[in-house]
């Protein structure tokens, strides 16, 4: 089965350039504003969109995304509302791949089968669920693959060659290489180390390799783009949302443009 993600990477290959993957938290700082940002992302150069599903206990995320989740939760965001957001987005965009990223519990509580059906119907193409390693593939990964949804796995600097085949086994769409041992939005990834790691992964898989965690500046986007199939930026974009809130946490006028302009400065480095 060919998904929007497969199609996109094939197109990027044909264009001869790396892809730009942008992350925002669904419902941050509120439902309407995040829908507006989401709708603007493809034009701002996002080849693929990762949409965060908020969770009270994001144990793999740094401060920027933790705060984004808290803003979303305070605004009443839930998993059903996130699916609604995707549905709204799909009314205007039927091409840009969209991946939901988050933690397992809200999905588990929604019910795996019901969630997969609803996500598919809303137009979700793939899932990244941080706290589901290959050891727990029966939970969601295998059902997702059966439902025709890509399950994108994280590979990390601690994933050794003995372990890689297990990590790659049920992965589809692309492989997300976590460039640092750490949480999102903290240390900077070193280009040499990333290049070596991407090379190592390529020996084991034909899937495209996207690299994320710790990419924050336009220069880093360009550096990572030169050694991987795509670069992922999350925290740096989310911080633009934070920077455009007033003292009550409400969106200042111009927030959406500020976020999209910033995204454009990043994505342009790959074009």
């Amino acid at each position: 089965m060919t998904t929007r993600i497969d199609t996109k990477f094939a197109a990027l290959k044909a264009e001869g350039r790396p892809g730009f993957v942008s992350y925002i938290m669904s419902g941050d700082p509120n439902y309407d504003t995040s829908l507006e940002i989401l709708r603007g992302l493809p034009d701002a150069g996002a080849d693929i969109i990762e949409l965060g599903m908020c969770f009270t206990d994001p144990m793999a995320d740094g401060v920027a995304i933790q705060l984004a989740a808290q803003r979303a939760l305070a605004g009443g965001q839930t998993l059903p509302k996130t699916l609604e957001l995707v549905q709204e987005f799909r009314k205007q965009d039927s091409e840009t791949p969209l991946i939901l990223m988050g933690y397992y519990n809200p999905i588990y509580i929604y019910g795996v089968d019901a969630f997969l059906a609803a996500a598919k119907a809303a137009g979700v193409d793939g899932l990244i669920v941080v706290d589901l390693p290959p050891e727990e593939d029966d939970e969601l990964c295998i059902p997702a693959n059966k439902a025709g949804m890509n399950f994108i796995r994280l590979a990390t600097p601690t994933t050794d060659e003995v372990r890689l085949p297990a990590v790659l086994q049920n992965t589809s769409g692309f492989v997300y290489y976590v460039s640092i041992t750490g949480i999102t939005g903290t240390a900077a990834a070193q280009q040499d180390a990333v290049a070596a790691a991407v090379g190592r992964l390529k020996a084991f898989t034909d899937l495209p390799i996207a690299v994320g965690f710790g990419i924050t500046t336009p220069d880093q986007v360009a550096e990572i783009g030169s050694v991987a199939d795509a670069a992922v930026v999350g925290s740096a974009i989310v911080r633009q949302i934070e920077a455009n809130l007033d003292e009550h946490g409400k969106a200042k006028p111009g927030l959406v443009d500020a976020v999209l302009d910033y995204t454009r400065t990043l994505s342009q480095r790959l074009r």
Binding site: D57, A60, Y108, P133, P134, T158, I183, A187
Partner: protein, 412 residues
């Protein structure tokens, strides 16, 4: 659900107790978790490892802890014969040290050079800082900013013991957030760091490993009871936050089918609202902090803060083995409210001359409910898992005793 032949064989090779437990962690941690499982598997069978553990348990912790017949309390309640397993007499004043000792020996065996831990009330933090001082390893303790304020004496103890305290302001700034932050630290410092988890929860192998270290409580209690009364007890009662003291007492008795086993959760202000920490009686299964277990959560799967007068019980989850023991019906789970625990706290002081921690005061509260109706030859063991020195400020506040003004008067 069918009855297993033995309740003591879990978890399986995937770390599951029935559907509970597992390894729900980020990929970065997965290789470490597998390493830990392998090392623990070897250490567990290594006599030299246990020799060192037992030697320190005896000479440093003060084990075995006494099994004490609480005669005046028994008379007061007028029913069952009540024994206390006195883990509050351990060095550092609670059962927490049993586990910390075991884990730091494993950390050393694995060549780890830095220790991290989470703490709520500070008891596990103090126990971790203690064993780190004992072995000269640097120690970082994550503690919710709210708890740092509430538990100043333990913060100071940890500092004296050489630990670095990191107040956690993310999320709601309590125990679950401290655990998130410890996991974030671990993900960042995978090479040199060992995470000493304080209760029988977290990703496999932690729940089984912590249980095995704490099982010293139940093994001793069993031998002491046989020596003292010539038979097994009729019932066991222990309080439950994450559930390590309870599992430590219960586990060696799980296959003794005639022993009634009761776990007491923190009922806070009661189970009608959200102001409690009774995950088993008021929560439902979910996935948090590396394991599937009963959790306090809303309809969207967002985690709800636990509440209890006892800072050691207000965790929104519980060890996965308890979740399984509940579902298979081997252990009964009940709860005691803040007010009931406060009453029991005072009763224990008055009748036995023992100031208990607020955590086992919950267990005692349940004992006072059931003991009077039981026959005089019914033998009950309650795990007195911690002493109450840390709680006197909280209790004074709830009883309307103005400690600050008394201290002011005496210094003038």
């Amino acid at each position: 659900m069918s009855t297993p032949n033995s309740y003591m064989t879990g978890p399986d090779e995937r770390g599951l107790f029935g559907i509970f437990g597992g390894r729900f962690v980020a990929e970065t941690l997965m290789p470490l978790i597998l390493d830990l499982e392998r090392e623990w598997g070897e250490a567990k069978l290594d006599l030299a490892f246990w020799e060192e553990f037992n030697m320190l348990a005896k000479d440093y912790v003060g084990r075995p802890s006494p099994l004490y017949f609480a005669e005046r309390l028994t008379e007061e309640l007028g029913g069952a014969k009540i024994y206390f397993k006195r883990d509050e007499l351990n060095h550092t004043g609670a059962h927490k040290i049993n586990n910390c000792l075991g884990q730091i020996l494993l950390a050393r065996r694995m060549g780890k050079t830095r220790i991290i831990a989470e703490t709520g009330a500070g008891q596990h933090g103090v126990a971790t800082a203690t064993v780190c001082a004992l072995f000269g390893l640097p120690c970082t303790v994550y503690m919710g900013a709210t708890d740092v304020e509430r538990q100043a004496p333990n913060v100071f103890r940890m500092r004296l013991l050489g630990a670095e305290i990191k107040p956690v302001t993310s999320g709601s700034g309590t125990l679950k957030d401290a655990m998130n932050e410890a996991l974030r630290d671990w993900v960042t410092n995978v090479e040199d760091t060992f995470y000493i988890i304080g209760t029988a929860a977290g990703p496999h192998p932690y729940p089984a490993m912590v249980r095995d270290f704490q099982s010293v409580i139940g093994k001793e209690a069993k031998a002491q009871m046989l020596e003292r009364e010539g038979r097994l007890p009729d019932s066991l009662v222990a309080c439950i936050g994450g559930g390590s003291n309870a599992l430590g007492l219960f586990h060696p008795f799980l296959d003794d089918k005639d022993v009634r086993i009761i776990g007491v959760e923190a009922g806070g202000h009661g189970l009608e609202g959200e102001e409690h920490a009774a995950s088993l009686t008021g929560g439902k299964p979910g996935v948090l902090h590396g394991n599937r277990t009963y959790l306090l959560q809303d309809a969207d799967g967002q985690i709800i803060e636990g509440h209890s007068i006892s800072a050691g019980l207000d965790y929104p989850g519980i060890g996965p083995e308890h979740s399984w023991l509940r579902d298979v019906g081997r252990v009964e789970y009940v709860y005691a409210k803040d007010t009931e625990a406060l009453e029991a706290f005072q009763l224990c002081c008055r009748t036995e001359g023992i100031i208990p921690a607020l955590e086992p005061s919950h267990a005692l509260a349940h004992v006072t409910k059931i003991a009077p109706d039981l026959p005089k030859d019914h033998i009950m063991i309650m795990n007195l898992c911690g002493r109450g020195d840390k709680d006197i400020f909280t209790v004074a506040k709830h009883l309307g005793f103005d400690m600050a003004s008394v201290m002011g008067e005496t210094t003038q």
